[in-house]
Symmetry: C3
Subunit: 353 residues, 3 copies
Amino acid sequence: MTKAPLIDEWEQRREEIRFKTPPQNHHRLFHLLHPKQFDRTFLDQMCELTTDIRTLAKTPEGQSHLQKLLAHKRAMLYFTQPSTRTFLSFNNACHILGIRTSEIRDSSTSSEVKGESLEDSIRTFSSYVDVIIMRNLEKGLAERAATLMEAIPRPIPIINAGSGKDQHPTQALLDIYTLERSLSHRGGIDGKVIGMMGDLSRGRTARSLAYLMKNYRNVRIVFIAPMAFTMGRDILDHLEEHGIPYTATTDLTEVIADLDAIYVTRIQAEHDIAGESQKIDLSRFTISSKELGALKEDAVIMHPLPRGPELHPEVDIDPRAKYWRQERNGMWMRAALLTRIFNAEAELYALAR
Amino acid sequence: MTKAPLIDEWEQRREEIRFKTPPQNHHRLFHLLHPKQFDRTFLDQMCELTTDIRTLAKTPEGQSHLQKLLAHKRAMLYFTQPSTRTFLSFNNACHILGIRTSEIRDSSTSSEVKGESLEDSIRTFSSYVDVIIMRNLEKGLAERAATLMEAIPRPIPIINAGSGKDQHPTQALLDIYTLERSLSHRGGIDGKVIGMMGDLSRGRTARSLAYLMKNYRNVRIVFIAPMAFTMGRDILDHLEEHGIPYTATTDLTEVIADLDAIYVTRIQAEHDIAGESQKIDLSRFTISSKELGALKEDAVIMHPLPRGPELHPEVDIDPRAKYWRQERNGMWMRAALLTRIFNAEAELYALAR
Amino acid sequence: MTKAPLIDEWEQRREEIRFKTPPQNHHRLFHLLHPKQFDRTFLDQMCELTTDIRTLAKTPEGQSHLQKLLAHKRAMLYFTQPSTRTFLSFNNACHILGIRTSEIRDSSTSSEVKGESLEDSIRTFSSYVDVIIMRNLEKGLAERAATLMEAIPRPIPIINAGSGKDQHPTQALLDIYTLERSLSHRGGIDGKVIGMMGDLSRGRTARSLAYLMKNYRNVRIVFIAPMAFTMGRDILDHLEEHGIPYTATTDLTEVIADLDAIYVTRIQAEHDIAGESQKIDLSRFTISSKELGALKEDAVIMHPLPRGPELHPEVDIDPRAKYWRQERNGMWMRAALLTRIFNAEAELYALAR
């Protein structure tokens, strides 16, 4: 193996981003708590930053540069709600940038932590690290942690990596990034028809994605869900308030040909109170090779994963399937987020010069 | 953000330590097992080294230097007694110096480890890493590990990170550092009146701190504890032997105005045999805003954390409250300890030149 | 401490390997799944590479070089069958080469992982890292993971770190390395008499070692096992097919004087169906100081560890005892394996120039 071709590739990639300067006027991002923090400017900047980091990471030389970017930072991954996927995505996003990580991956690690208040635990973690990435079953803990930070002399950023059924803002970011990028050859999300299918009432990912559609122009949303799991009234009100047209149906076949993208979600049977999921013909809310024929040739199929039977593995080889890329995008988007939070964009672009 | 001010700050900090040379005549430290290893020279040197590392770490450039210091070392954190706080403190101390870490954080990780002797497990760990940091419920395991090291061809240092109710020497070091530093504008610990309050019979931290007071001149100790939890006879004998005056009381109000520092500890109800803690009016061994008025204006309030009701969160904003700083000092002190154990002080000071 | 002697030592070590070039014609190694992948050329190359990495690692300067070798790589240690020893060995092998690690160390870490197919879990891990090191109770999972890699656009290497009672190829590699190196002053494994003792029917390590003996010339194998635990017919057939002479006995005393090496293994009582192990006089399949007198003066004693009563700790200080070295060799061999898999041998040797 000679390194020359790789260095050439690096030079070429570098060319693409070398004259970039970081956006000048953006608000400083400190905590990342809720998708309501995201406006169009922020979303566009994050998408661009994510792509630039991916580009840099395509060569060993770029990877080495990235690893120096935040090598002096330390992160705490505080996951009392276990999630292998989100944990690995954040952990490796940290490692890409050289950030050292400490972890709590279940709530039983320490009886000490149990005995003390959330505030004391969070302040303890903040004593040792530069950012806390937290995922919890209970609603609002990330907000409480962020509130604590306002009251102490050495505040550090809090990243909400998912709080119960409530919010999962970094998932929303990676979904937007994947959607925007997969549709980039057609002008991006603006003007597209976006389908969302499955358990829309209980799945926070589709809810967040619908919520964020207000940032895009001329989007139309099609909700495809069993009657028991239709999109919540609060989100529908939000769409109406922002003048975003939507329709709802229980029949995928009647709308599938219109969709530019379909965001498939799993029926969250674990949240059933009286076995609601059992009564539903799930095969009608499924993408398999049978449905692929009706879908536009340049449509985008997404899924937040893990999947159940609603997305058949035979779809994986279809070029429209973007969910595995979506998953990997999560890591790059989280690396971009950490770069932004630590205000290291100027240094990132300086690396390429 | 421009980097110039930071580099200026770095230059200025560097100035403070650039003409330092590491102490020449100190004993080589290998294992850290017990506070009885600490004499005044050692304590003073460790305090100074801790402050110098903190100083270096105040700038990104200094942080980068520190990360190279022990980047070729690997540590094992063997915590069969879970302790999130001590674990994180050590883990991040390692990361500050570039040390890579492997961890066992509970005793159930591996059935293999259970089946074999402690000696075989420790020797196995020593095959892979350069230092073992261990915390156990049982007394004397760190000493057994250190004894094993004397018998094998590739011994590595053992650090006792707490063994049951027995010893916790790195906690003693960080307590001394915080006390000395918090009193530095008044000449340090020498000549001060140090109060220790709470569960003095079962809390190892107050015991260790009292034990180490023999290294300081003209110190007077005031023990404030319920009758059921007074300081142990062994420690009192030790104080008498070294001519250190002490008094004991069950009434904080009668002594509080005399104290230069008060080291508050938690009632360790988990060690009750017959509900002893239930019979005590704990409110009399508590610091809250009510007590703050009686305390000297430049007194120091410490606590090893986690806290119970004996230390009210409303005290946190009082400038005399040093316990959060004390917690963070633990990380810096442990980084200093690793630097000392790996004999890297000369390289540390060379970094600043 | 002055650094000069170390640098001199580094220069001297460097001299040993500076004119080396990596083997030119070897097959590219991608997945490591099964000892059947190993031929003599591969085994010899891996032994040499392992020694060279150990040599480089003997100085801080060499250690720093090694840490840069794969610093841009990330590994996933997916251990649903817990094994502290193998985990630590791989984790530290990664750390030696600068590889960042993420871990799953038991199967209960995430309910998500449980719910999805192995293929989806593996593909998820492969989204985030550059190599998956996996250890499982079930047979054939590493092969399934490798098969998946052939079907996806971004395949990464799979390393089998032990699958149930089935295969443990990296243990086989480190055993071969230790045996070859311990016998190097006598021409290596070729022409030697190799004893294997203990639970030969259920222990995969002795099985693999016997299987690999076909790669060496004029080797004779002596199996020493209770009747209930003799070597399996499949391995005996394999030896016969390759013309490797072997004998089997239940009496160590009658063969011990002939052995150039004895590979001792533990009776795996945990796999008993009807208490078979209870009926056996294990003292007859044991090495203690009593047996040492009968063993050749330059014989080699090995054991895959952890040990039971079949290998007395009093043997540890005998110069023929190589099992602790064997354990540490595992880390170096695994570092060599990662170097080979990532095709980084040319860069490794370039480091020394």
